[in-house]
C-alpha cells in the first residue's frame, strides 16, 4: 500500500485541496474522507497531514475556523478560500498533464 511519502511531491496538497473543495473538514475528518474516497488505499499519516494543512493555511489557500462537530466537540475546520479554489484548478491541470504523460510513457515504452 503506498504511503503518503511515496506520493509524488505536491500531490498531497492537491488531494487535500480537492477533498476540502467538497466541504469544510477538520484534520481527522479529512484523513477519514481521503481514505474513504480512495477505497481505503490512501492512508495519510498525521505526521504529513498536519504540517501540510498548516503550510496550505500559511499560503492562504485554505483558512481555518473553530466550530463544533456533530458530537458537540470544538474542532478546527479548514475551508478552501477563493484563491485556494483557483490554486486547485491550476494543480489539477498540472496533475492531468503529468498523469497522462506518465500513462503515455508506460503504454508506449
Amino acid at each position: 500500500m503506498p504511503k503518503p511519502s511515496d506520493l509524488l511531491q505536491g500531490t498531497l496538497d492537491l488531494l487535500i485541496l480537492k477533498t476540502l473543495s467538497r466541504e469544510p473538514q477538520h484534520g481527522w475528518g479529512l484523513a477519514k474522507r481521503m481514505l474513504e474516497l480512495s477505497d481505503d488505499v490512501l492512508t495519510v499519516q498525521q505526521g504529513s497531514l498536519y504540517p501540510a494543512l498548516h503550510r496550505l493555511e500559511q499560503q492562504g489557500w485554505i483558512e481555518a475556523e473553530w466550530k463544533d462537530t456533530k458530537q458537540g466537540r470544538s474542532a478546527k475546520f479548514y475551508t478552501l478560500t477563493r484563491e485556494g479554489r483557483q490554486q486547485l484548478e491550476r494543480e489539477l491541470t498540472i496533475w492531468k498533464r503529468l498523469s497522462s504523460a506518465v500513462g503515455l510513457l508506460l503504454k508506449n515504452a
Binding site: 477538520h26 484534520g27 481527522w28 499519516q45 498525521q46 505526521g47 498536519y50 504540517p51 498548516h54 503550510r55 493555511e57 500559511q58 499560503q59 492562504g60 483558512e63 473553530w66 466537540r73 470544538s74 474542532a75 478546527k76 478560500t81 477563493r82 484563491e83
Partner: protein, 921 residues
C-alpha cells in the same frame, strides 16, 4: 490576483510571531482533538480505555515532534529560534564572566583597531576630497630625471607653457606661499605674523568651493598693468583676527606694506592646501616669464573624459619641447601629474597600510584566541550538547546555537571596539603631517565606519565560532552522557586544535613584533643620528624683525616680488647679539636664519659657480652653458652670525668660521658643507673657490673660506648641499619668495651653568631691547629636534602599541590553552603523582607539548617575518628588513613571554593533590 491572500498570509505570520502562545495552544488543541478521535475509534473497536490510549499513542507517534514540524510551516520559527539562542547565549556568557570578558576584549581590540584604520583609509584614500569633481583635480610637479623621487614645484616658465599649450585641462592655476608676511589693519591692532599665498584668479574656486562671503579675484584684478589691491582671507583668520565681523567686506588690511580691501572670506571647509594659510592675494603670470625657480604649486582640473595618462603624455611632450627651447632652465627636469588627493594625502598610504597589516594581525590573533577559548569550552560543554542532541536538537540547530553565542560575543566585542575605534582614530589624527600637507581632519566615525564595525563583528564571530561549533556539535550523545567527568582519555587529540591555534597566535605575534622592532630600531637610529652638532645643553629662540619694517616692495621681476632691503634687520640683529653676549651664564651665543635641522621652511638659492654665466641671463640669451649637465644647482641657504659653529659645536673641517671682520664692506665669503664641496668641486680643494647666488645684480661673488661637517637639514634625509653666509653680507635688494629671510633668526645659546637662570636673563635682555615685543619663547634645542621626528615617532609608537597588544593576546591565549590542558589532565596527573612521578616528570609531561607548539609558532613567525618585512623596507631607516639582532632579540622576548604563560599552569599541575584529583570522579 486579489489582495486578500497576501493580507491573510501576513496576518497569520504576524500572529505566529507576536501571539505565539495563542497559536501554540491552538495547535495543541487541534492535535489533541485528533488524538481523542483516535482513542474513541479504538474504544469503538472494543479496547479498554487504557489500551485504547496506548494504541493511540503508538499510532500518533512523537507529538512534540509533530507540533514542531507544524510550527516550522509558519516560516517564522527561525526568529523564535534566534530569540531562544540569544537568550540562552547571553545566559551562558554571563555565567562565565572571565571567559566572556577576555574573549570580548580580545575581539574589541582587533575589531576596533581595524575599524579605526580602515575608516581612516576609507576617508583619506578611498573617498578622496569631498569636493566636486575631486577625481579630476590634479597636482603638477617637476621631477628630477636623475632622481624620480625628487619632486619639486614648477617654475613660472613651466606653468606658462603648460597653461598655454595643453588641451587636457579646463583649468590650471598656481600658487606660491610667502613665509614671514605681516598683516596689520587699522591703527591700534598689533601686527601679526601670518602666512599667505599669491594665487592666480582661478586657484581659489578650482576646488569648487565658493567663498563664504564676498567673492574671489577676477582675471582683471590680477593684471600687472592695473593691479587691484584686494585680498581674500581664510575662515580661521576671519574668526581669529576679526572676531567674525559680519561687516568684514568693508574692511582693509595691510599686507606686506600694501593696504588691501578684503573682498571675500573662504569657508572653513576650504582647507585642502598648506596649513596655516590665512590670506590670498592675486598673482599674474605673463605669457613668457623666464624665472627658473621651481617654487610654485600648480593645480589643474582635467577635462571630463581625459585620463591621467593622456594628460601625462601631453605634459611629457611639452617638457621635451621646453628642454629643446631653453636647455639651461629645463634640462634634467621632467613633469609629473598626480591626482590632487594623492598629492595631498598620498603620504598616509604607506603608514596606513602598515598599520592595517598590524591591526589585521591583531584581529587574527584575537580570533585565534577566542576560537581556542571556545574550543576549550566546547569540550567542557560536551554533556550539555549531548543532552540537547538527545532531546531532539538537530546538528544544524546545535551549530546555530553555538554560532549565536560566538556572534554575541563578537557583537559585545564590537560594541567595546567602538571605544577602541574612537581612541584609535584620535591616535591616528596625531600622526603628524609632513610640512606642506593639510592636516588629517576628515577622519571621523561615520556611518561607513560603524557599518564596518558591525560587519567585522559578525564576520569575526562567525569565523571564530565556526570550527568550535562544528567540532562541538560532532558528538555521540550516548558516550558523552555516560561520561561522568573529564576522563583520563585521549587529551592529546582533543587539545590538538587548541595547540595549533597557540602556534598560530605566537607566529602572528612574532611577525608583528619583529616588524615593530625594526621600526623602533629605525626610530632609535634616527633619533641617535649624529647630527654633527651638539644639541644637548643648547637653548634656542625665534626672533624676527617683521619684513614690513625693512622690505620695500619695488615691483616684480620675472614673476617674483622684488624688494628693496633696508639695513634695519642686520642692525637690529647685531644689537640683539651684542646684548645677549653680555648675559651672565651664556657661554656662547650665535644665530642662524632657520633651525639647522627640521626647519619648517628652508630657503634655497641657485648657485652659479665662478666661470659659468648666470643661469637666468643665459636662459634669456638662449645660449648654451657649461652648467647644462648639472641639473640641479640649488643649495639650502642659511644666514648665520659669527661663531655659530663654535656655539653648536659643529666641526669645521677646513678653513675658518665667520668672524666680526666679515662685514658688508669686506670681501664676501661663504662657508659650505661637505656635501656642497663634493657636489660642486669633486676632488678639489673648495677653499678659495668662488660662486654667486642667483638673486639680484647686487649680490656679490662669495669666496669659500670654510667647510663644515654635514648637518642633515632633515632628520630622515641624506645631507643636501648647504651654503652658510654672514647675515651682514647681504645685498640691498632681493627677488624671490623669502623676503622674511633677512629679519628672522634662530638664536642659539649655550649656557655655561644653570640653563633656567640664563633663559630668564635672555628674556629680560630681549625685553629691554624691544619693549613692545611679546616675551620670546626659549626652548631646548633637544626638544625641537624631538618634534622633528614626531611623525615617524607617532607612527612607530602606534605600531608598537599594536605589537604589544598582539603579544599580550598571544600570551593570554597560550596561558588559556595550557591551563585548560592541565585542567583536563588533572586525573592523569593525580594518578601519576600517586604512582610516584616526581615534579620533573610532571613538568616535562605538561611542558613537552607546550615546547612543541611554541617552537612551531616561533618557526612560523620567523618565516613569516622574513617574507614580510621586505614590505616595510621603505619605512625603515638605516636598518635592513632582516636585521639579525632584531630577529634574535624579539624571538627571545617571545619565547620568554610564552614560557611565563606556560609556567603558571605548569606550577598548578604540580600542586595537584592526587587524592583530590582521584576523588573528583
Amino acid at each position: 490576483m486579489s489582495l486578500l491572500r497576501p493580507l491573510r498570509v501576513w496576518r497569520l505570520r504576524l500572529r505566529s510571531l507576536v501571539r505565539k502562545d495563542a497559536a501554540d495552544t491552538e495547535l495543541h488543541r487541534e492535535l489533541a482533538f485528533h488524538f481523542d478521535q483516535l482513542v474513541a475509534e479504538q474504544i469503538e473497536q472494543g479496547l479498554t480505555p487504557d489500551a485504547a490510549r496506548q494504541a493511540a499513542h503508538r499510532a500518533f507517534g512523537n507529538a512534540a515532534a509533530l507540533e514542531e514540524s507544524c510550527r516550522d510551516e509558519r516560516r517564522v520559527t527561525w526568529i523564535h529560534d534566534l530569540q531562544q539562542d540569544i537568550v540562552y547565549g547571553v545566559r551562558m556568557l554571563r555565567k562565565q564572566p572571565v571567559f566572556t570578558a577576555v574573549a570580548a576584549a580580545s575581539l574589541a581590540l582587533g575589531i576596533g583597531a581595524n575599524a579605526a584604520v580602515l575608516g581612516a583609509f576609507d576617508a583619506v584614500i578611498v573617498q578622496g576630497l569631498p569636493v566636486a569633481h575631486a577625481e579630476r583635480l590634479v597636482a603638477i610637479q617637476s621631477v628630477a630625471l636623475d632622481n624620480p623621487s625628487q619632486l619639486a614645484g614648477n617654475s613660472l616658465a613651466d606653468y606658462a607653457a603648460f597653461r598655454d599649450r595643453t588641451q587636457s585641462f579646463d583649468a590650471m592655476d598656481l600658487s606660491i606661499k610667502s613665509a614671514g608676511d605681516v598683516a596689520d589693519d587699522e591703527p591700534g591692532a598689533p601686527p601679526q605674523r601670518t602666512t599667505g599665498q599669491s594665487v592666480t584668479p582661478g586657484w581659489l574656486t578650482m576646488l569648487g568651493i565658493e567663498p563664504l562671503m564676498g567673492r574671489v579675484f577676477t582675471v582683471a584684478e590680477s593684471q600687472p598693468s592695473s593691479p587691484a589691491q584686494v585680498v581674500v582671507i581664510s575662515h580661521a583668520f576671519w574668526q581669529r583676527r576679526f572676531g567674525s565681523d559680519p561687516e568684514i567686506l568693508t574692511r582693509h588690511i595691510r599686507v606686506q606694506g600694501t593696504v588691501r580691501a578684503i573682498i571675500g572670506v573662504m569657508p572653513a571647509e576650504f582647507r585642502y592646501q598648506e596649513p596655516g594659510v590665512d590670506y590670498w592675494v592675486p598673482l599674474f603670470v605673463g605669457a613668457r616669464p623666464d624665472a627658473s625657480g621651481r617654487l610654485f604649486g600648480v593645480r589643474a582640473r582635467l577635462k571630463p573624459a581625459v585620463s591621467l595618462a593622456q594628460a601625462q603624455a601631453e605634459l611629457d611632450a611639452i617638457a621635451t619641447q621646453l628642454v629643446a627651447e631653453a636647455p639651461v632652465q629645463h634640462k634634467g627636469w621632467g613633469v609629473r601629474v598626480r591626482p590632487l588627493n594623492e598629492f595631498l594625502f598620498g603620504w598616509t598610504r604607506e603608514p596606513l597600510l602598515t598599520l592595517e597589516a598590524a591591526v589585521a594581525l591583531v584581529l587574527l590573533i584575537g580570533c585565534a584566541n577566542v576560537a581556542a577559548l571556545l574550543l576549550s569550552r566546547s569540550s567542557v560543554r560536551r554533556r550539555e550538547v549531548a543532552l540537547r542532541t538527545a532531546l531532539g536538537a538537530g546538528r544544524g540547530r546545535i551549530i546555530r546555537q553555538l554560532l549565536t553565542e560566538s556572534v554575541l560575543l563578537a557583537i559585545a566585542g564590537g560594541a567595546l571596539g567602538l571605544i577602541v575605534a574612537l581612541i584609535g582614530q584620535r591616535a591616528l589624527l596625531t600622526m603628524a603631517t609632513p610640512p606642506g600637507s593639510p592636516p588629517l581632519t576628515a577622519i571621523g566615525l561615520n556611518a561607513r565606519v560603524i557599518s564596518l564595525l558591525a560587519l567585522l563583528s559578525i564576520g569575526t564571530g562567525l569565523v571564530c565560532g565556526l570550527i568550535p561549533a562544528i567540532r562541538g556539535s560532532r558528538l555521540d550523545p550516548m558516550s558523552s552522557l555516560k561520561e561522568a567527568a573529564p576522563s583520563a582519555g585521549p587529551v592529546r587529540r582533543r587539545t590538538f586544535p587548541q595547540g595549533v591555534l597557540v602556534s598560530v597566535q605566537l607566529a602572528l605575534a612574532l611577525v608583528l613584533l619583529i616588524g615593530s622592532g625594526l621600526l623602533l630600531k629605525s626610530l632609535v637610529r634616527q633619533v641617535q643620528r649624529d647630527l654633527n652638532f651638539e644639541p644637548q645643553g643648547l637653548v634656542q629662540f625665534d626672533f624676527n624683525v617683521p619684513a614690513g619694517r625693512y622690505a620695500q616692495r619695488i615691483g616684480s621681476h620675472h614673476g617674483f616680488p622684488y624688494f628693496e632691503i633696508g639695513p634695519a634687520p642686520a642692525q637690529t640683529l647685531a644689537r640683539v647679539l651684542d646684548r645677549l653676549r653680555t648675559v651672565p651664564g651664556a657661554e656662547s651665543v650665535a644665530a642662524i636664519s632657520a633651525p639647522p635641522v627640521d626647519a619648517f621652511v628652508l630657503a634655497t638659492m641657485e648657485v652659479v659657480l665662478e666661470g659659468s654665466p648666470a643661469i637666468s641671463h643665459a636662459a634669456s640669451a638662449g645660449g648654451p652653458s657649461i652648467n647644462v649637465d648639472a641639473p640641479n644647482n640649488d643649495a639650502t641657504y642659511f644666514l648665520v652670525t659669527p661663531n655659530l659653529f663654535g656655539t653648536i659645536r659643529t666641526p669645521i673641517v677646513r678653513g675658518r668660521d665667520f668672524t666680526s671682520r666679515d662685514t658688508v664692506t669686506a670681501p664676501w665669503v661663504a662657508i659650505v658643507n661637505e656635501t656642497f664641496a663634493r657636489r660642486f668641486w669633486p676632488g678639489e680643494d673648495p677653499i678659495g673657490k668662488r660662486f654667486t647666488l642667483d638673486t639680484v645684480p647686487e649680490e656679490q661673488p662669495r669666496q669659500v673660506v670654510g667647510v663644515v661637517r654635514d648637518i642633515p637639514t632633515r632628520h630622515a634625509e641624506s645631507p643636501q648641499p648647504v651654503v652658510y653666509a654672514s647675515y651682514l653680507q647681504q645685498p640691498s635688494r632681493y627677488r624671490g619668495p623669502w623676503a622674511g629671510l633677512f629679519g628672522q633668526m634662530q638664536f642659539m645659546i649655550r649656557p655655561s651653568g644653570d640653563p633656567t637662570a640664563t633663559i630668564s636673563a635672555v628674556r629680560k635682555a630681549i625685553g629691554e631691547i624691544d619693549p613692545g615685543r611679546p616675551l620670546v619663547d626659549v626652548t631646548a634645542t633637544a626638544s625641537h629636534l624631538r618634534a622633528g621626528t614626531g611623525r615617524f615617532r607617532s607612527f612607530v609608537w602606534l605600531v608598537s602599541v599594536f605589537a604589544a597588544v598582539a603579544m599580550l593576546l598571544a600570551a593570554i591565549g597560550t596561558y588559556g590553552v595550557m591551563a585548560y590542558t592541565v585542567d583536563q589532565r588533572r586525573r592523569e596527573i593525580g594518578i601519576r603523582r600517586a604512582l610516584g612521578a616526581g615534579r620533573r616528570e610532571i613538568v616535562a609531561m605538561v611542558g613537552r607539548r607546550a615546547v612543541a607548539f611554541v617552537a612551531i609558532g616561533l618557526a612560523g613567525g620567523l618565516a613569516g617575518a622574513l617574507a614580510l618585512t621586505r614590505l616595510i623596507e621603505s619605512q625603515l631607516w638605516d636598518v635592513t628588513p632582516t636585521d639579525p639582532l632584531t630577529f634574535v632579540a624579539v624571538s627571545v622576548l617571545l619565547v620568554a613571554i610564552a614560557a611565563i604563560a606556560c609556567m603558571i599552569p605548569a606550577r598548578r599541575a604540580l600542586s595537584v593533590d592526587p587524592t583530590v584529583a582521584l576523588r573528583t570522579d
